[in-house]
Symmetry: D2
Subunit: 309 residues, 4 copies
């Protein structure tokens, strides 16, 4: 199957119509009210190629709360700043099971398994706080630069809401602090973390933003080097093994692309040397990943044969 | 970097000479005497392309005990027989930590995390026993067919040795039996499992045998279909997330290829659409994977840029 | 409240009639057929004082499978033989949760938490096998001597049944063997363990047998010293913290006496310096302890004020 | 052995001189500076009988930070207020291992194993906050009433110190809050908890304060009923199985009395119907219990035969 000749729009539309008819199983995330208000019937897909061809369908122009997908951006930023040293404070292994979050953190003496689970992303935020002069401003600037969209920002009321109910994240950060793996003030780190999680983008913006991971670290459109080839590949590797909580194996098995999901119902996936694709459907399966999003990507890679494997 | 123009022999030799000089850290597996007798200085590499070009260096023509690498063969055989039903009895998720073997098996009520850890491979053996008339004969025939090497067999004294000391495997199978996830007699299943683990191949044979996983399930040389495109990709996905015990993330991060290791010091890795590579060096790191083998593959994919990411 | 003036028969009868009317909740153990055949309505109580006064009601003269209660007898025998050295191979701490059996055994590298859980009792059997010339004969002789009942024996068909389905116990012993904490042949140890568990006694015999634990290690009737004062107290201490699986705290809280339960529905409890009491009702609660047995003892110690606290 | 004729002073002195000569192993708790400043050579013992005879030796008149021993006081207060309902929010089972604190709290969905581990004592503080008008004042008043010492108070600088470093306690409370088992503001609950832990008493005051647990809930000197007979026995039962973290079995085994330790190096133990004894020596063993304190009590109960078993 040749990428050049692939009619992505046709492929997307075909799978979209199949999945649209399928039952929409699962629950919208409700642990913060703002996420719970989203229309569960929303469904959008966007694919952008390395040649800057963009294909989309459904609600792909609507802003969504990208939530954990943003952890790939903070990881990129921190990896650029700290390089290999990063891995002294966070691992690169899948975490196993959901309930393990605290279990493994205790067993591993405060070192999170990987930078894409909550504990790991919080450590990354702590590292950024220690290394950036104006963390909030520099984070948003970085995201705008990578996405090439100037008005990208975060939703303050969602950030506030997350803060007000984030007891489990507070448990995680305090446990890590007790092991010495948090250097800054806990409240400052969490404030920054909640800003990160509250960033909003459309599917189209998502599929454009993460093109650098499909292109050896270089934004193929602007030509700007976001991070080195080697680090770009390594972030893909981490997404492949750790991007979907305790469903990383399932996603790898069914979809076969490195990617990252968020509880807002978004999923972003990368096909190296070819494209980045983003899907959005708010209803989540029991593991916290978009039910239709996973269905769509499974069907899409099966139909097109476009997995990394 | 273009596959066609890649001089694999040169690339292999360059990295081989670098790694040969490096310190040879770790310990040869000694839990069974036969494995402990191997010369720890052995070091061999073999790469076979989809066009049947074969490149090698060092001890790549010596028979090694492939151990857990054989679990990919039993998985292939069972997947062909049972299809999707297989996943009712074994999962596709990484297992987390080594000590979890029994922990997670108990937590997950006798369903192993994936078919490449011991518990999972034992369940696969149980399935094969239920579905093959002459399991030992049919397994070896299958391996000979896939490898296209007629004299491939297993080492009886190693199989016997493994049986005599396999207390932990006995603990695993009894625990699964208590949950109803083993259907056949425990001793028969273990006998068959130890035969599987005792299969012997050279690096060259290994890199030729697993070409079908680099080639969408079809042996590119004989043209024979070993398994379907979709299942071939899925086995690669499982190797990517689960092929290296609790170092799967590390291997994915450093090497970026789906693969499988064995405690005999062998590692096999696949680059879809290109090649299969096998490395052998008996000294194991603390996680039970070949120290030099991982070093070699990391350096090789870094130098050539040939990872799936 | 004075022991001398206590009318035990009256107290037993009063509580017996109260509990008899109460709903009989729970399930008879069915994992081996023989245990499952017992009439769930059976209910018996027997109390024997240090002065050899015996009080009973209901089915207190019927033979029951004493199951795990026998672990106190094997512990007594092994403690006499090995003394303090015993505690190198088994601990004295409660185990926490039921599912932990294998978890903790793995975490604690093959050292069972205490001698009253299955893993611990199996280690005790292994120790007895190493130290007795004719273990089966000497065990039964010891039980006959302590109980002063010559025809006490074990039920061969129950022992056989337990052996045929004892997969979890096989998992435990193999795991311990892999850590080097089992010295003898696994099958011999398990055969001996299943003999131990299949010993049969009536409630009256139970309450008479364990008088030595209420009497500083000396059988108050025969005057024979079974074990030293200090060791007798220590076995009581272990029963108090570990005698009821993961319900040891609950039993201590509700009943306040050291004791031991069995899945046959029997419970034996000791009041130091006063008496030993045995209750039998086959229906077990979710933790595997006799529902009515615990109810009876709770009510009995509440009514009489006769707890150690 | 008859209590009346026991010469407690002689017994205490004899054991005291033996233990004084023994090596003083372990480490003074240093996680808060104030505790680390204590002279590690301090060693005091006090015993008070139900007849108000008081015996003491060494540093038994010095104020110590009673730390976790105070959890028995908060439990007494809350048990009186809520009765049986208390056990909906906290269990009565031993917790198993130290590292399990967070593990088990997650597994048990925010319900602590018992009221004497940190998580459980924090829930008790939350309950008191919900039920007392002026919690700090009422707690201190209650302690003064039970101890019959009017100037008893808590050490403000220790409370402040504990607050400043209490990350693990913050992790625990946030985890429980995420499961809905904390009703009040987290900071208020922790402030109150740290006050509780910072209460100061001498050994003599300790041994006098907890007499009510040796006397069926009634202060034998003032005649005042502190709590009901049944609840008094139940608190003893909980101390017996849960009073020494993951060394509860060991303490029960070696000492045979219900008791409670604190990281300040104090231990309080109760002999029902006879006395309460308090020991203080600041160096802690690896499980966090006073090394000499446990040694003394083991020797004392062995010499005198005065255990509950």
């Amino acid at each position: 199957m040749e990428s050049k000749e692939m009619d992505y729009q046709l492929a997307i539309e075909k799978v979209y119509s199949q999945i649209s008819c399928a039952e929409n199983i699962g629950e919208v995330a409700t642990y913060i009210p703002e996420l719970g208000c989203v229309d569960p019937a929303k469904f959008g897909v966007s694919l952008t190629t390395l040649k800057n061809e963009s294909f989309g369908i459904g609600d792909c122009q609507e802003k969504i709360s990208i939530q954990s997908i943003a952890k790939v951006l903070s990881l990129t930023l921190a990896y650029n700043i700290k390089g290999q040293e990063l891995w002294k404070r966070v691992g690169v292994e899948p975490s196993g099971t959901p309930f393990n979050s605290l279990v493994q953190l205790e067993y591993d003496q405060g070192i999170p398994r990987n930078p894409l689970i909550n504990a790991g992303a919080i450590v990354i935020c702590d590292i950024l706080l220690s290394n950036l002069k104006d963390p909030e401003h520099e984070l948003i600037s970085f995201v705008r630069e990578v996405s090439q969209v100037n008005e990208i920002s975060y939703n303050k009321s969602i950030a506030r809401s997350e803060k007000s109910v984030g007891y489990r994240n507070r448990a995680l950060i305090n446990l890590m602090k007790s092991f010495g793996n948090i250097k800054n003030d806990i409240n400052q780190v969490l404030d920054f973390y909640f800003i990160l999680c509250s960033i909003e983008m459309t599917c189209q913006e998502l599929s454009r933003t993460f093109l650098y991971l499909a292109s050896d670290g270089v934004d193929p459109i602007s030509g700007k080097k976001i991070l080195s080839l080697s680090r770009s590949k390594r972030i893909n590797a981490i997404m492949q093994t750790c991007g979907f909580y305790d469903e990383a194996g399932e996603f790898s098995f069914r979809v076969g692309l490195p990617g990252k999901s968020g509880v807002g119902g978004g999923i972003m996936a990368v096909h190296p040397e070819r494209f980045c694709i983003a899907v959005w459907s708010p209803k989540l399966n029991k593991k916290g990943n978009s039910y239709k999003g996973m269905k769509f990507l499974e069907q899409f890679t099966t139909e097109t044969g476009l997995s990394v494997f």
